[in-house]
Symmetry: C2
Subunit: 223 residues, 2 copies
Amino acid sequence: MPAPFEYEIVDLTDEELAAESEVLGALTASVRRLGLASLQTTVDHETVAEVTRRIDELAERLETSRIPGNYGVKLTSNGRVRGFGNAVVGLRNPVAPPVPIVQDRERGRASASFELGPLYEGPPGMVHGGVTALVLDQLFGEAAAAGGKPGMTGTLTLRYRRPTRLGACSAEAWCDRVEGVKTIVKGELRDADDQVTVEAEGVFILPRWAREQIAETGPPQYE
Amino acid sequence: MPAPFEYEIVDLTDEELAAESEVLGALTASVRRLGLASLQTTVDHETVAEVTRRIDELAERLETSRIPGNYGVKLTSNGRVRGFGNAVVGLRNPVAPPVPIVQDRERGRASASFELGPLYEGPPGMVHGGVTALVLDQLFGEAAAAGGKPGMTGTLTLRYRRPTRLGACSAEAWCDRVEGVKTIVKGELRDADDQVTVEAEGVFILPRWAREQIAETGPPQYE
């Protein structure tokens, strides 16, 4: 039986939060740019080795003061969830594409338009099938939350209709129905031609400890 | 009907390939380290801004000579697939954890031991459910290939048994059965306590154009 998740409350003003998002968001954007450059570069090996040494120096500077492990999920004093470390949406996570998800609480839907570039490749020129699963899992969780039934993924089924070309993508998810503690979410991912490339269905379940926690803190909404 | 994937043949000696892997693998490792440091750092905003500028300078140096888009999948002259850009296993992709997958062709299995650290977080302290899907999708494709039936993911179903703690993980996949052009792969992911956290089943399908391509080039085996 897993323990409830721990959320840390951060007590910053809106202005302090905005400044932090701007400065650290810019850092993350630059690390993403460097990641793409390191994949694409054809400069000579001496230059690569020299750049590598300098990257290590910059990492050392950032490491002089840091949290010891995972970023976690923090609650701001206005009750919003700040998942800066999240692997899909995290503002401070250079692994995240990132995917800006919009929740529609009136209709119990979540949607996003985003770019999956060369760092998300599987078959040549195509988005890795697992990356589409990664994005849809996050989107589905937020659709369940938007529908008032936040939960953890119980099952996720993906049907790959055709390969997804690297580039502009969009995705949408909606609460299809609720069966007791299960919320069934459906959704799809589309390529730049607005063709559906992946269809998916997920069952989200809310364990009792999580229901009690949400009664205290409200449903998660990422920012 | 998607067009066949394009594979580029690279004609380097084993020594040249090894040198390239070493120098560029070190670059990628340093970018990964920088990514983790940027997530964890608590240095002041002035230092963050200064480091950000220096990262941009290094990215510019790498960008002076580069391929214009995706890395693609290249075939070496000894017939091995080099997926350096792959989002799960790519040696040159800092988004990849990476996951070193071992194929067992005698038993039609694939397995891997790997680390999923703070950059792969979903719920606090836990691996993002979509990241486990990402890893398993790649592993399943390689299990199908190891079983002599390489294909593209048709469907993938994931059952989340319990949250996966960040840290050491392992995963295994095997060909369960073949039904015509479909190969059914099963597998699971385990946490550091060797507890199964995710079970999955995938159907891999080989379109005719891919069957013809593989007849020419052999089944994919990543390195």
